[in-house]
């Protein structure tokens, strides 16, 4: 084999392996995030912004309460928004713990009116029910729970849902009875891999 042919073979083998030739990569197999509580309004909220489908004139049958939040991942990991950086952010575990905010011992919080709950990413605000569900809950035996857990194990790559380092999330709760205001404590686990193609700077 002559040298040009060998060099061509080497280049072909290198490119066939995929990925940049000159790179730096950080991988965190287990990254766990606990976010501060998100406040949910009571089921009787009069704010259309808290209705799952604000286009409806009256939010009834079944009532559905929603909140939208945007988590600034770039604030935690600035590399997310650097040029030449690609990343994989895979959700491996998630739990939204909904707990009533009433503190009166004589009237403990009752979340028994919650029929179901879902946490979505990639939601189009103009399309009701759009996006991908990453965690869900359906009411079971306890008629008067004081807290419920909306859990999931989606193993979902969140990178396509991140824009400018921010991940929009929407939580929707369907109720069939009066529900008090409550807090949503959010725990999530991720697999993170950030790759910098530093050869592109040359």
């Amino acid at each position: 084999m002559n040298r040009p042919a060998a060099a061509a073979l080497a280049a072909a083998l290198l490119t066939s392996c995929g990925g940049p030739l000159l790179f730096a990569e950080v991988e965190v197999p287990d990254l766990r995030v606990t976010l501060p509580p998100q406040s949910f309004p009571a089921s009787g909220t009069a704010l259309p912004a808290n209705w799952c489908d604000p286009s409806l004139p009256v939010n009834t049958n079944p009532p559905c309460v929603a909140i939208s939040a945007s988590y600034d991942l770039a604030a935690q990991v600035p590399a997310f928004t650097k040029p030449g950086v690609t990343y994989e952010l895979r959700l491996t575990d998630v739990a939204f713990i909904l707990s009533g905010t009433q503190t009166n011992p004589a009237a403990p919080p009752d979340l028994g009116g919650i029929v179901s709950a879902a946490v979505r990413v990639g939601v189009d605000p103009a399309v009701a029910g759009s996006g991908t569900i990453i965690a869900s809950y359906a009411r079971t035996g306890n008629p008067h729970p004081t807290s419920i857990t909306v859990s999931g194990n989606a193993n979902l790559d969140l990178a396509p849902y991140i824009t400018s380092g921010k991940l929009p999330v929407r939580v929707e709760v369907v109720v069939d009875n009066t529900t008090p205001a409550f807090d949503a404590n959010i725990l999530a686990a991720f697999y993170v891999r950030i790759t910098l193609d530093w050869g592109s700077y040359l």
């Binding site: 730096a24 950080v26 965190v28 197999p29």
Partner: protein, 221 residues
């Protein structure tokens, strides 16, 4: 895998022709006048009884001292079973820790200026590499405590030249591509007092490729 593929291709590209080191004439070419005079009563030394290590006119064993990036400083014992192939291994030091390293070189022919193709690998134990998290180098500063005790593994392929005698002292310069893997075991918890969020990192790894260069001094006994 990428490095192994390139190393294999480079090895295939190297000529299989081997020429004797002109600076070290073979025994068969040595002038008769240089042969030791026979001593009466001494046992006769036949060519077949001579050490095979000298069959090609140079030693099989040597000592290599080199310094480079990302290998660090290394001292290696070298062995060449055949003139065109040599193996080396020994301890290494890179300012932040000690390790071991080794590799194989292909020397397609021997002249005063000799090309050398090398594939090598090494591993450092318990090195402090937290400096790579300084000044926004792409590694989150939160990872710094985890980088304080990391294992450091590398592989590299080099092409270079050696100047000098293949049966004595040579100086070498090599350049190529290196692959690095930094691994840490442990957990770090950080809390953002502003937002109240808590982030826990566990067992991070850092890897990448970068150009590699190495200078060496090689002595064949």
């Amino acid at each position: 895998m990428r490095l192994a593929a390139l190393a294999a291709a480079l090895a295939l590209a190297s000529p299989s022709v081997y020429a004797e080191d002109p600076a070290a004439p073979s025994l068969s070419e040595a002038p008769a006048s240089s042969a030791p005079a026979a001593v009466p009563g001494a046992p006769e030394v036949t060519p077949a009884a001579r050490p095979p290590a000298r069959a090609s006119g140079s030693s099989r064993w040597g000592l290599l001292l080199d310094a480079g990036l990302p290998q660090g400083l290394a001292a290696s014992a070298t062995f060449r079973p055949v003139p065109s192939v040599r193996f080396f291994a020994g301890p290494a030091w890179n300012y932040v820790g000690f390790g071991v390293q080794g590799g194989v070189s292909v020397v397609p022919w021997h002249f005063a200026v000799t090309p050398v193709l090398t594939a090598e690998a090494g591993r450092y134990f318990g090195a402090d590499v937290s400096f790579i998290a300084k000044n926004g180098q792409g590694v989150p500063p939160e990872l710094r405590p985890l980088l304080a005790d990391m294992t450091y593994t590398y592989g590299a392929i080099h092409a270079g030249i050696e100047l000098g005698s293949q049966s004595g002292l040579t100086f070498s310069i090599d350049a190529g591509l290196a692959y690095l893997l930094l691994e840490s075991k442990g957990t770090v918890t950080t809390t953002d007092t502003g937002s109240g969020s808590t982030v826990v990192f566990k067992d991070p790894r850092v890897r990448g490729t970068l150009p590699s260069v190495k200078l060496g001094v090689h002595y064949w006994f």
